[in-house]
């Protein structure tokens, strides 16, 4: 007997939840590894060759659109920030596509490797680690 559509859909929802939970845990771990054990946020706005992610936005009719913005801040709880026309736009990891989540994780993995070999990380404020 094959699984019904609703039970397959349930499996998908659970797989997505597991993916986002694991990704968020890895983001937290990498933020600490890069910025130090007290870091709660990484400021990556000065990193050469940074990444851009599709931030979900809503237009006036309420339709979902997206805008590709360069990532500037990565919080340990999985919130990603960008600057757009003088404003700070923030979005939780769960609202990004799977591809963008993997992109962010790979970016952090790279920064982590580079931090081990001399990339500069400095605390600009109490808990925000600025990566150069």
């Amino acid at each position: 007997m094959t699984k019904t559509a609703s039970s397959i859909k349930n499996s998908l929802v659970k797989a997505k939840e597991k993916f986002h939970k694991e990704a968020a845990a890895r983001v937290e771990d990498l933020v600490r590894r890069i910025g130090g054990k007290d870091a709660c946020c990484l400021d990556v706005s000065c990193v050469q060759g940074g990444i851009s992610m599709n931030f979900p936005t809503y237009d006036v009719e309420g339709d979902v659109a997206s805008r590709l913005l360069p990532v500037a801040m990565i919080h340990d709880d999985g919130v990603v920030g960008a600057y757009h026309r003088g404003e700070t736009v923030e979005e939780d990891l769960v609202n990004f596509s799977d591809e963008d989540v993997i992109l962010l994780l790979n970016f952090l993995e790279r920064l982590c490797e580079e931090a081990k070999h001399g990339r500069k990380v400095r605390f600009d404020s109490e808990y925000v680690a600025k990566v150069y």
């Binding site: 094959t2 699984k3 019904t4 559509a5 609703s6 397959i8 859909k9 499996s11 998908l12 797989a15 597991k18 993916f19 694991e22 990704a23 845990a25 890895r26 771990d29 799977d98 993997i102 994780l105 790979n106 952090l108 993995e109």
Partner: protein
């Protein structure tokens, strides 16, 4: 702590499993509705059309990213392929595994509802199953 590579691998494995379950369910549903091992289900006569989005590059815009265009489902084949009606009344065939997951569930849920409503299907002169 899972690394990015293992998180990605686990997510890909989950999606593959879900797609395999969905393809098996599609085959089961088409066979069950048509009561035939080689059933081809025609959806053109349904009151409400079902759409599947596929990437299309607009004529004269080959250098641009393809846009996702929703096309109505024309026929569903027992082997898991889906035929879509294009703008010129032609047919575009897509394997179930190449369709966006959201659209996969739209098709499955449609077939589940057809099965639960005990909708009658009859063979047309070409040997295809259409809704009576």
């Amino acid at each position: 702590m899972k690394t990015t590579a293992s998180i990605k691998a686990a997510a890909q494995a989950a999606v593959e499993r879900i797609r395999r379950d969905a393809a098996e369910r599609l085959t089961y549903l088409v066979k069950k509705i048509t009561d035939d091992d080689t059933g081809i289900l025609i959806l053109d006569r349904l009151e409400k059309r079902t759409f599947v989005s596929i990437p299309v590059t607009m004529m004269g815009a080959e250098d641009e990213e393809p846009r996702m265009i929703p096309l109505p489902v024309k026929r569903i084949l027992y082997d898991g392929s889906v035929e879509l009606r294009d703008d010129f009344d032609g047919t575009i065939e897509r394997s179930f595994k190449d369709i966006e997951l959201a659209d996969v569930f739209t098709i499955l849920e449609l077939l589940e509802s057809i099965l639960s409503q005990h909708r009658q299907v009859v063979k047309d002169r070409n040997g295809y199953f259409v809704f009576d």
